[in-house]
Amino acid sequence: MTDEELRKAVLTALASVAPELDEAALAPGKSFRDQLDIDSMDFLNYVIALHEALRIEIPEADQRHLTTINDAVAYLRRRLSQPTGS
């Protein structure tokens, strides 16, 4: 997957919990938890959405790598290039 495709996937997962999301207004390097008022339930649903879309397991400890668009793309690129742990 290209970075652009990954970015799309992250935004899609995010939009499932924050439908009013305006991509243009989102700073890609900053935590969207504050920008989009994402609470832990939203965040969990976002992670689950990523998990379902990309079919990768995301350990709880790794969730902190998913809080900005840029971090998430980088993390997912890394994860997808490794053989899946499952």
Binding site: A18, P19, E20, D37, D39, S40, M41, L44, N45, V47, I48, H51, E52, E57, I58, P59, E60
Partner: protein, 371 residues
């Protein structure tokens, strides 16, 4: 023959507008079946039937505004003869007039409002009028349009009315208690490690379950104030305050939370939050709560001083999880703690019992594996 009547979906609801019937005449319905969708100030809500039987006749049509308690349909019970209703000409009967209580202007829409609604593609059927004589005016249409994109406005009114009533009528008392959450969180983290992402749990579930279980010992916090007295509830149905993305909040209940396992409770909570945020709550989920649990920890507030949602008599709040120096076994150690709080109705309970109720919640959280 029993009548199906417009249910009261909240303390401030006076009427609802029938959006659609989901069951047709002649169809069998069981207790709990969703029979219709009704538009309220809170949004479209599915309403259930509690009377098993067969729908004999629908008495109101979509678009009609129906006062709380007004009959909407006739339901023929098991073994009851068809046509027992004294309405042989029923199918040809004209649509009943709206209840007189709605006033002469009910259903009136100003020309400007009608045009604006057309422009906005807004369905006028759901609107309550604030114009002269209760007619729907331009402002009502604009407000409805704003609500559509920002439901907060109408909800704010509902919350405001309920909270004002609460503060006016309920003599609140408040208690706070700091809970050492370290054991519970450690247990949860270990548990989550074993679980695939879709089955992970949030610590809020532990809090909810602890409250539900503690209510077994303190039933005076579980129930409603009705008819001038407290009516305890057999069922433990904690309402969970869910903040909505557009603002406002709603507190649907998880019925029988005390009997659900943590994973079941987590699933129920996830489902509830999702449905609360996209719409699609059931009427009973909004009217069945026997107590409310609210958590504002995510926003960093250390403690919450909540307001009771009438007709309930208590609300339990949780603040943020914070790491604090804590004395453990005579030595100071960093521990993650949380402040629990209780607002309760003095007409029903006293601070003494309230303090013990909070202590019981704390005790449950100390033994997470037993939750």
């Amino acid at each position: 023959m029993p009548e199906f009547r417009m249910p009261s979906l909240g303390a401030d609801m006076e009427a609802g507008i029938l959006v659609e019937w989901l069951k047709k005449p002649g169809e069998r319905v069981s207790r709990g079946d969703v029979i219709a969708v009704v538009e309220t100030q809170k949004g479209a809500i599915e309403i259930e039937v509690f009377q098993p039987g067969t729908i004999e006749r629908q008495m109101v049509q979509p678009g009609q505004k129906v006062a709380v308690g007004a009959p909407m349909a006739l339901i023929r019970g098991e073994g009851e003869a068809a046509g027992a209703a004294p309405a042989p000409a029923a199918p040809a009967a004209p649509i009943p007039a709206p209840p007189a209580a709605l006033g002469p202007a009910a259903g009136r829409v100003s020309p400007a409002a009608r045009r604006r609604a057309t422009e906005l593609g807004l369905d006028l059927a759901g609107l309550l009028g604030s114009g002269p004589g209760g007619a729907v005016g331009l402002a009502d249409v604009e407000a409805a349009a704003a609500r559509r994109t920002q439901p907060a406005a109408a909800m704010r009114e509902v919350i405001g009315a309920a909270m004002a009533r609460s503060k006016r009528e309920i003599p609140h008392y408040y208690l706070g208690h700091t809970v050492d959450l370290e054991p519970a969180l450690l247990w949860l983290e270990a548990e989550n490690l074993k679980r695939p992402v879709a089955e992970r749990m949030l610590y809020g579930v532990l809090l909810l379950k602890a409250v539900a279980l503690a209510l077994h010992e303190y039933p005076e916090f579980n129930g409603v104030w009705s008819g001038g007295r407290f009516q305890p509830s057999e069922q433990i149905n904690p309402g969970v305050a869910v903040s909505l993305r557009q603002g406002g909040l709603i507190a649907p209940s998880i019925n029988g939370a005390d009997r659900l396992t943590l994973p079941q409770l987590m699933a129920a909570l996830r489902d509830l939050v999702r449905r609360a945020r996209v719409g699609g709550l059931r009427s009973s989920e909004l009217s069945d709560s026997t107590i409310t649990v609210t958590s504002l920890g995510e926003q960093g507030s250390e403690s919450v001083y909540p307001v009771i949602y009438p007709p309930q008599v208590a609300i339990v709040g949780f603040g943020a999880v914070a790491t604090r120096p804590w004395v453990v076994d005579g030595a100071i150690a960093p521990r993650r703690v949380i402040v629990s709080s209780l607002a309760a109705d003095h007409r029903v309970s006293d601070g003494h019992r309230g303090a013990r109720f909070l202590a019981a919640i704390t005790a449950r959280l100390r033994e997470p594996d037993r939750l």
